[in-house]
Symmetry: C2
Subunit: 321 residues, 2 copies
């Protein structure tokens, strides 16, 4: 019980430190066309899962706290950049209950806001003192992989021939690569061997897969208030998700997926179908399977810290939104 | 005469080496949604002014040729990234006689293509061996400044209160910062002092200002075949250019700029007005003034190499398109 408390205190501490540093970024006022939307984008109170993972991973190897702060801020900015551009591409109007950047400031400003936040991320990760170039290269390799994942996601829209393997490859890039980077940065900044870094990447990758599969499930099974984003956008865009891919093998799916019903009705029918056919349960098992696999990698940490990492892993999955 | 010949041979050599390395970038086939537009964007035969400047600057300080190639490729990719995103924001349909990326592949793919090319640039500049972190930080500081310049450009659209100073600040960021970076990278990779690097930045900045003022002039006074891009986009978007800002002081400008004539007629009328009022001549003087100022910085180079840099400076301005 006290362990749980100190774990949650640790998370709160990292989150508030991250928020505080984000608030203290030395951003100019002008041009307002650019810096107003940047401030707007960074003012959101995110869960800061990615910086938390950087810090937790790096603490396990006694990495320098300042380096971890730089790296944590950089991955959070990278994450923000991808959200801003993805929201344009996916035509999403709200995120965490707020208007998306392009909805509020226009597509032109949102493109530039994303570009600039990505550049700020590069400037910040360039300030780490240990293995700077290695950290930067890992950062950019992961960024490119995330772009590839988003490309697959868009390429797959409306394509009902996408296999489970292709879907899993897509989410490994789109969501896995960034969490993989976060875990790896802890190892790079803690000067750990290539083998340890590879295990850290594997941890983050499987965590990301489990997280994204769960995200697909929540988009259909959560309440809008909890998820804080447009719930029907996957359905509207005919996105391939773990649920649509598993459902496709079951009789009756075509009628539902191709129906002309309004989006809200269609989502309700899909939800019932996923429950009746066991697709929901199967999807939850797949998510949990990745989380279990992620935990298998945690033996690289000392016992005490392994407990913290286990707690973090459960924490990521035990969200209602 | 033989000097001129060897100068032009040198430029051809750097250009063909740059093209060859761009062609050999190890790009995967999949996802085609991303890599088809990336290949399309990089297949254009640009003038490669920016990599040429990196090489010429660095040769003056015996920088490592491999480092210069990495840096040259990175700035060319950075330039391509900004063109792709700017074309979306400026709604330009053609560039160098080819469809722009967003026109051919859609805005979503074009956003992602720009993001990925920028990331590739980061990965490539991260491979320089001398002063890697310094090169990366300079690269990203310049990238952020370029974003600010584009933001001012968009913010200024249709704003006839923009002063000459504000316009000059905008082009210093939008065009000057990148050429400034190119010149500076030669110094960074050649391990030169901060003072020398500052002088190199000053050279590139003034070269960029002269270049952009000339670009504004060419957009109105060149033929479409030469410039190879939509000639009327500045007029259509009511962009602030050196010509509109100088013209504003002359009687009769308001009638022309606010007229409802079609874009082509409006451009013709503006052209005549710029000639009659001496605005064209004044703009050309301003451009030449920056070029002269740029040349003043070239005393940091040894005599022989200074001649080459002088030739390059003239070469940049002596374009018909």
């Amino acid at each position: 019980m006290s362990d749980t408390k100190s774990f949650s205190e640790l998370l709160d501490f990292i989150r508030s430190e991250t928020d505080s540093h984000l608030g203290k970024l030395d951003l100019p006022e002008e041009p307002t066309y650019l810096y107003d939307p940047i401030r707007y984008a960074l003012a959101g109170k995110g869960k800061r899962l990615r910086p938390i993972l950087v810090h937790l991973s790096g603490r396990g190897f006694d990495a320098d706290p300042d380096d971890l702060m730089y790296a944590g801020l950089a991955v959070e900015l990278l994450h923000n950049f991808t959200l801003i551009h993805d929201d344009i591409m996916d035509h999403d109007d709200t995120r965490h209950g707020k208007q998306t950047v392009h909805k509020k400031f226009g597509t032109e400003a949102a493109i530039l806001t994303g570009d600039s936040i990505f550049t700020l991320a590069q400037l910040i990760i360039g300030q780490v003192q240990s293995n700077t170039v290695q950290a930067l290269q890992a950062f950019n390799k992961a960024s490119l992989t995330v772009c590839e994942g988003q490309a697959y996601d868009l390429q797959f829209e409306g394509d009902s021939t996408v296999t489970l393997d292709k879907y899993l490859d897509m989410i490994s890039r789109k969501t896995g690569a960034l969490l993989s980077l976060c875990a790896e940065l802890g190892g790079i900044l803690g000067a750990k061997s290539d083998d340890v870094c590879a295990e850290l990447r594997s941890y983050g990758l499987n965590l990301g897969r489990g997280f994204q599969v769960q995200d697909d499930i929540l988009e259909i099974f959560s309440d809008k208030e909890n998820l804080g984003k447009s719930l029907e956008s996957d359905v509207a865009a005919d996105k391939q998700t773990i649920l649509t891919i598993l459902a496709r093998k079951h009789d009756g799916w075509n009628e539902i997926s191709r129906s002309d019903a309004d989006i809200s009705t269609k989502r309700e029918r899909m939800r019932s179908f996923y429950i009746e056919t066991g697709v929901e349960v199967r999807a939850r098992e797949i998510s949990q399977g990745y989380i279990d696999k992620a935990k298998d990698s945690l033996t690289i940490f000392e016992d005490d810290h392994k407990i913290t990492m286990d707690q973090f892993t459960d924490f990521v999955l035990n969200r209602t939104h």
